[in-house]
């Protein structure tokens, strides 16, 4: 398996240019389109000289290529600039908010995958049946849900009406946060044996991660169903049946594994949806993650902070595509390194 290792190393190396391409594309995108952040932010409410001063301070009066070089240089140094509003380094602020987002996305993703794959597979091998129809309606319906609305609905039902689940934040106000190791409360709490914090964190995670998970599950249902329908038609499925392999094994072992391969590749690209969904979920549930941070900074027109968050999202996208490729390489024996 030496070649697999080599592949992984090379793949990591190619992630670096990928990151720069992504960052560059976004950078030029924001500059090429007409408009200007300062006037967008303050809309002519400030004296012209002060606007000009702000532009100069942010380096927006320089030619594009100089701006780009400056931008890359500071990126390379790991410097995302200083917040206009708090005057604190943006990278530090982001690091404080990132774990909450990760925790939410991981739980949301787990729910989405579980629901998506179970329902998708069930629908595929009963294609055309009532169950299939029901599952397809579910998939379209969840896809159409607007996260803030769905979130509010659940908050209303479970938080206000039934009063059984918290509707915001990561912990009960009476519970202290666990000692920070990873920043993911559930994991940190378990690692430090702080079960009070663990259950509190888990209870707070239920609604937001359900919202995120259910809304995204529709897409996974669809992907699983479509791919499995194709796989189930292959001869090796018929051959497995002809050898007397049980239906469950055929579906959950042979068909599912083969179905997951295309899904994994698509997933790398669909991860973007998860991140976008997380922003809306966080704002709905006052979840102190990147999305909430972003919303807050939008309100304060904190230009460097917004740009910083974008960079972090780009890094997340790249990391996920890297992980996806590696899982893919490990699962599929046909891949050539």
């Amino acid at each position: 398996m030496g070649s697999l290792k080599k592949y992984i190393v090379l793949r990591i190396l190619t992630a670096i240019p990928m990151f720069f391409i992504l960052i560059t594309v976004i950078f030029f995108f924001l500059r090429i389109l007409p408009g200007d952040p300062i006037s967008a932010m303050y809309g002519g409410k400030l004296p012209a000289e002060y606007e000009a001063y702000l532009r100069h301070k942010l380096g927006l009066d320089l030619p594009y290529h100089i701006q780009y070089i400056n931008y890359l240089r500071s990126l390379f140094m790991g410097d995302l600039g200083t917040s206009i509003y708090t005057k604190r380094p943006i990278s530090r602020e982001i690091m404080e908010n990132l774990p909450a987002t990760l925790e939410l996305t991981i739980y949301g993703l787990a729910i989405a995958l579980f629901v998506g794959i179970t329902l998708g597979s069930s629908a595929a091998h009963r294609r055309g049946s009532k169950i299939d129809r029901l599952i397809r309606v579910y998939s379209v319906l969840t896809y159409a849900l607007f996260i803030p609305w769905f979130g509010t609905l659940l908050q209303f039902i479970f938080g206000v009406y039934l009063h059984i689940l918290p509707i915001g934040n990561r912990l009960d106000p009476t519970v202290d946060a666990p000692i920070r190791i990873t920043g993911l409360y559930t994991i940190d709490a378990l690692l430090t044996g702080n079960f009070l914090a663990f259950f509190s964190a888990l209870r707070h995670l239920i609604l937001p991660s359900l919202v995120l998970g259910i809304v995204l599950s529709g897409i996974f249902v669809r992907m699983t169903r479509e791919n499995m329908i194709v796989i189930l038609r292959k001869d090796f499925i018929s051959f497995a049946k002809a050898r007397g392999i049980s239906n469950d094994k055929i579906i959950w072992k042979h068909a599912l594994k083969n179905t997951l391969i295309p899904i994994i590749t698509i997933f790398g690209l669909q991860f973007a949806l998860l991140l976008a969904g997380a922003i809306l979920t966080e704002t709905t549930f006052s979840w102190p993650g990147l999305g909430s941070y972003l919303k807050l900074r939008i309100e304060y027109r904190d230009y460097p902070a917004i740009q910083g968050v974008i960079v972090v999202y780009a890094i997340l996208v790249i990391i996920v595509s890297l992980i996806v490729d590696m899982i893919y390489a490990m699962i599929d024996p046909r891949i050539r390194y």
Binding site: K6, Y7, L10, R11, T14, R336, Y337
Partner: protein, 337 residues
């Protein structure tokens, strides 16, 4: 002086680079090639049916595609009616295409699913701006009749998916003949059709040959069909012609062990005499051995075969065989019938 040859092929060669992933290219710079067609020469006389026979992957279809310039030759020369067409391009090639045409193997894939039958057959006339609108329609209708699709008016407005495989292949033939070409490559035109329909198409093609004074390069893996229609046969193995000659010579007194193995393996020969059984399968054409390409599977191999690639031995004015062991084979297989 009239040239009696319509097509002359000299030292034709086609190498396909092996597709590599981006990472592969990073890992090693060496590009590997599939030697699809490797230095073959032959000519086709006006009015004859020249058969190219071989198993899948031997390069016979590639040869056909090269001659009608659907593929770019790597090396060698193709002369059509005295004109070197090896490297003509653009408009010149486009205009010349009227003269030589190809019928494809798969009638299910060779017709645009979104065009009506009438439009499919008329399209070549539109492209080369032959005749008026009315004349084109007339021409298409008479062509439909010529290929046995009655009543033509009814077929004119149908879509390909409404036709059977045999009918589709008739449409494909009509599309080609409407330009009144002189030379046709037929790339296994019946191999995807039912046996009972196969002969219809072959007979139609031979009938049209007489009526329109056509010359055929007929590519097939089926010696049975070749024996019914051809004047001369060339047998290919791994990109090389191993035996070439008149029909009676190649079928009656084959001298290459591969030809004999193919001929004696045809199923359902009631007069089955002895069989020449050979081992293994056709290897891939990437790493070509130095000596005879058939060496690994040959029951008649000698040491020299591994080191020296056999050149053509002339057995008669028309019969050539590339083998080091003709004498021994002559002894074992004096005649096949």
């Amino acid at each position: 002086m009239m040239n009696t040859k319509i097509v002359e092929v000299e030292n034709l060669r086609k190498l396909f680079p092996v597709q590599k992933s981006f990472l592969d290219r990073l890992l090693s710079k060496k590009i590997e090639y599939v030697h699809a067609v490797d230095d073959i020469s032959f000519n086709i006389k006006i009015g004859e049916v020249f058969c190219l026979v071989g198993e899948s992957g031997c390069g016979k279809s590639t040869t056909g595609y090269l001659i009608v310039r659907l593929l770019e030759p790597t090396d060698g020369k193709i002369i059509f009616r005295g004109i070197d067409i090896t490297h003509i391009k653009g408009e010149e090639l486009r205009k010349l295409r009227k003269e030589f045409q190809i019928i494809f193997q798969d009638p299910y894939a060779s017709l645009n699913p979104r065009m009506k039958i009438g439009d499919i057959i008329r399209h070549p006339l539109d492209i080369h701006m032959i005749g008026t609108r009315e004349e084109r329609r007339e021409k298409v209708l008479s062509m439909l009749k010529d290929v046995g699709l009655y009543p033509p008016e009814q077929f004119y407005d149908k879509y390909p998916h409404q036709l059977s495989g045999g009918q589709r292949q008739r449409v494909a033939i009509a599309r080609v003949l409407v330009l009144q070409p002189k030379f046709l490559v037929a790339d296994e035109p019946t191999s995807m059709l039912d046996v009972s329909v196969q002969a219809n198409i072959v007979n139609l093609m031979m009938d049209l040959k007489r009526r329109f004074n056509l010359t055929y390069l007929y590519i097939t893996h089926d010696f049975g069909i070749a024996s019914k229609i051809c004047d001369r046969i060339a047998v290919m193995y791994l990109g090389k012609i191993v035996e070439i000659g008149k029909r009676e010579e190649v079928l009656g007194e084959p001298r290459h062990p591969y030809t004999i193995a193919l001929l004696t393996s045809i199923p359902g020969r009631k007069i089955a005499g002895k069989k020449l059984k050979i081992r293994g399968e056709v290897p891939n054409a990437i790493n070509i051995p130095i000596g005879c390409r058939f060496y690994a599977r040959c029951p008649y191999k000698k040491d020299i075969c591994q080191e020296l690639e056999p050149k053509f031995t002339k057995l008669s004015e028309t019969h050539y065989v590339a083998c080091h062991n003709i004498e021994m084979i002559k002894k074992d297989w004096p005649t096949l019938f």
